[in-house]
Amino acid sequence: MERQLILHDLDPETAVILPPQTEDRTVFAALPMARPCAGCFGCWVRTPGACVARDRAAGFAGLLSRHAELTVLSRMAFGGFSPAVKRFIDRSIAHVLHFFEIRGGVMRHAARTGAPLKLTAVFYGTGDDGEAMELAGRVVRANAANLGATAWETRFAAGPPRPGILGDGPGASSQAGGREVPPL
């Protein structure tokens, strides 16, 4: 199992700032954009584990399942991921099962595998938009709970993407959490 999957929405010229792909690390570009999710649930009840639409996003859930850590680098969009990144996130729901369970008194999707996953989200271009950052923190925490992630972290970079943005750089604030299910 590879260690880290990086999903990013940088154009090819900017993406050179990212760490290189290795045997242990996969770097996956959200551009060009994939088709949006059609809401058919085929990835659960028709071709379990894979999206029925055949494009770059079709196997993303399978790719995610082979990594112990998902790092998402994204422009902030209304307190969440950018549309390009979100298309892949939407089409990766086959990473979890369609079956439900109750965890922490709240309904969640059941995990497809027992493998641990850490979710790290790095938002860039946030400026000092506290409201958006607060919402993004909640969204990532909820995503982690639904993915069955064992740990999650949200970081913000006020300016555009720069070398080292995926590490702890100056001005990057961080929220972190464990496996606890966030209150609604």
């Binding site: 996969t26 009840v45 399942s65 209304f78 549309p83 079956f99 109750i102 969204v139």
Partner: protein, 226 residues
Amino acid sequence: MSVAYVSGSPKAGSGTSLIMLERVRRFAPGEIWKLEPGRPPSPGGWEGFLAADAVVVSFPLYVDHLPAHLLESLEEAAAVCREARQKEGGLRLPRLYALINNGFYEPEHSLSAAGALKLFCRDSGMRWSGALMAGGGPVVSSAPALFGAGVFPFGRLGRALMEFARKVSALEDAGETGVRLPVPRRLYVFMANTYWRALAWKNGVPRKSLYGPALPPGGREAPREG
């Protein structure tokens, strides 16, 4: 008073989002608009769309936020609104209402999507006017006749939609209201899991296959991209 209705569901056919939208539209008449990324709203373009007194958007929660295509459309809308406000300082933009459904029992999962729409309103200048959030969304589309009749288990949701429609008609703030199905959580989980099994059986998928690892089509190794 003019209301523009938008279905933010990616489904081509009639799902829960459209059913809920049509119910509100029955009591607060208005026109159905299509909002797609990269295109002006139809039928009347941006000028017609932004001239409405209210916009009601109905959509399913997608991974704790807006569906990607709707997110993209709203980013475009925000840019158009900002430009319009720069040209005409006193421009009055529509109120925005939302109907959000999700497949979990708890409607509160949709609060993050409502938060996203509030940020859209802050950025665009539209006035956030509230949301009705429904848990157990798929039950609506699986029993549309019962929903239409307003009988159990849809009485509560039906009444909430009527009140929501009244607020839209009166251009009043609707607040953020959540509606749960009037059944115990554990029963809903059982119903939902039974529904999934039935759907898989209908599609000829063996039960054991449902639990397998996530794979790309054809079971090939997923491509790693550099």
